[in-house]
């Protein structure tokens, strides 16, 4: 074989293998495109589904969310609130509905006067009322079923802008922020907020209220919401007694050296002159449960304490040695709670369904 013939056959073989590899590459890309297409389509459909649900909840809830205007010592203020019943009861944040007067509510483009019925600093909730018996209202959900990453949305009135939805998700359940304890666990929500949205409802995808927006976090990139169960406890107190009745029994708790029955909460002090003084509880007892709230850590007593109503009998389950004991204690008024509560315009006796005496 001459050297020239050998060169041309080598060149031919090289070009053939090059075209073959290009063809294989093309086929590979085509197969990958076919495989990815359904995934991309599913993602787009999922995004449009979320968007549709958010829009639907927003449209359904918008009428029950109102802009609140008031005047306080610094001048005019503006916030958000929402109706929880057709009788015109509004939930809002303490910072909107507490230390102010001349409340008005913007409904259907009209300014309607409102009055404050309760403001509770310990929970951060305020309640207003308009004299209207046909107000649209939001359904109340449950906050104890929420989990991290549950999608939620809010509807509020930022600045002087119209009703605005914001979408986000539950980011955590916090009892303290920067070394400061809350009276009960708050929902931290990764949802952007602006000024004017204090008191806005936090809604799940069923359109139910699961929280009340009370503050921003880190300049509005996230927010804190009071769980609706906590707000409903305050509402329940108000319906029963005409005021928020934060209760306590008078026991100090600290962390035990070792967990017993899954709890590390140990009684360190039974305060004299409190309901617990004569209850039979002793220093060194391990706290297992307060009412229906199980206790595992000392911090758990914050929530347990929050849901105690002064005047109610509270069963307290403890472990003493190997014995499980249950005491029933009539709760007193919590020293951290403001008494008397701020009630600008007390309800008439007819407005209190159970007709209970409001004096402690």
């Amino acid at each position: 074989m001459s050297p020239r013939r050998s060169d041309s056959s080598l060149r031919c073989r090289a070009s053939r293998s090059f075209f073959a590899s290009v063809a294989v590459l093309r086929v590979g890309v085509a197969v990958a495109c076919v495989a990815i297409a359904p995934v991309l389509r599913a993602q787009a459909e999922s995004a449009s589904e979320i968007s549709r649900e958010v829009k639907e909840v927003f449209t359904r809830s918008a009428k029950a969310v109102v802009k609140i205007r008031a005047t306080d010592e610094h001048g005019k203020l503006s916030g958000t609130g929402f109706f929880i019943d057709p009788a015109g009861t509004i939930y809002t944040a303490f910072s909107v509905g507490a230390d102010a007067d001349n409340f008005t509510v913007e409904m259907d483009g009209k300014e309607v006067p409102a009055r404050q019925v309760l403001a509770d600093r310990r929970s951060g909730l305020a309640m207003l009322k308009v004299d209207d018996t046909t107000t649209p209202c939001l359904p109340i959900g449950r906050s104890d079923g929420l989990e991290v990453a549950t999608p939620v949305l809010t509807v509020g009135f930022p600045l002087d802008l119209p009703q605005t939805p914001s979408f986000g998700m539950i980011a955590g359940f916090d009892r303290k922020l920067l070394g400061r304890y809350f009276s009960t666990t708050h929902l931290r929500v990764n949802l952007p907020t602006q000024r004017g949205e204090a008191g806005a409802p936090l809604l799940n995808f069923k359109g139910e209220v699961v929280g009340v927006l009370v503050s921003s976090v880190d300049n509005g990139s996230a927010c804190y919401a009071l769980p609706i169960n906590a707000a409903e406890k305050i509402h329940s107190d108000f319906v029963r007694f005409g005021e928020a009745r934060h209760g306590w029994v008078g026991i100090n708790v600290a962390e035990a050296a070792a967990p017993l029955e899954g709890s590390r909460a140990e009684f360190t002090d039974i305060m004299p002159g409190t309901p617990a003084a004569d209850s039979g509880a002793k220093r060194g007892d391990i706290l297992l449960q307060v009412g229906n709230t199980p206790v595992r850590e000392p911090e758990d007593v914050l929530d347990a304490s929050f849901f105690i109503t002064a005047g109610d009998r509270v069963p307290i389950t403890v472990l003493r040695g190997s014995q499980k004991l249950i005491f029933e204690v009539e709760a007193g008024f919590h020293p951290a709670a403001q008494r008397p509560p701020i009630i600008a315009s007390p309800l008439s006796p007819q407005a209190m369904p159970l007709g209970l005496d409001r004096t402690p």
């Binding site: 600093r121 304890y181 009276s183 004017g196 204090a198 009370v214 009071l226 100090n252 007593v301």
Partner: protein
């Protein structure tokens, strides 16, 4: 002077002793002396006159006894502090002040020629309105009075607060 000896000098002094000024020379002598002295003083620059006066004053106070390194250092520090305060606190409001003085009772918009040299965050449409006053100050005050915005409420932390001890 090397050619003169004591004898020559004595002869010269004797000759001069008989020389007399012209008649009336001493009549206005003191007045003329003071006039020439003032004229000589005024021929100096003002700063030198001031310096001489200051020196005289300081020497009267016996300043050399006071001048020591700590005093000088303290004086320098005070001067530096005053100068630095002036440099860092003085706002660059000369342009604004000039504009207000030129157009009393009006808010002037900077001319496009000036705007070309300024880095401004406002959009071009707002800068290029022109050099005519757009609003009088009375109009502006009225608007502010009527449209005071409310405080849009959203706290930075929840108001809910619990003492750090765990009790229930």
């Amino acid at each position: 002077m090397e050619n003169f000896d004591d004898k020559d000098i004595a002869t010269l002094l004797r000759l001069k002793r008989h020389e007399q000024p012209p008649p009336g020379y001493f009549d206005n002598f003191l007045h003329e002396f003071h006039r020439r002295q003032r004229a000589e003083l005024l021929r100096q620059p003002v700063w030198r006159i001031a310096l001489q006066r200051a020196q005289d004053y300081m020497f009267q106070l016996n300043v050399p006894a006071l001048t020591s390194y700590p005093v000088a250092a303290a004086a320098i520090l005070v001067c530096a502090a005053v100068l630095s305060l002036k440099v860092y606190q003085a706002p660059d409001a000369q342009t604004v002040a000039t504009a207000v003085v030129q157009q009393p009772g009006a808010i002037a918009v900077s001319s496009p020629a000036n705007a070309a040299w300024n880095l401004s965050s406002s959009p071009i449409s707002a800068r290029d309105i022109g050099s005519m006053p757009v609003r009088t100050s009375s109009d502006n005050m009225q608007t502010h009075r009527l449209a005071t915005p409310p405080r849009y409420v959203l706290d930075s932390t929840p108001v809910s607060y619990e003492p750090a001890s765990f009790r229930f």
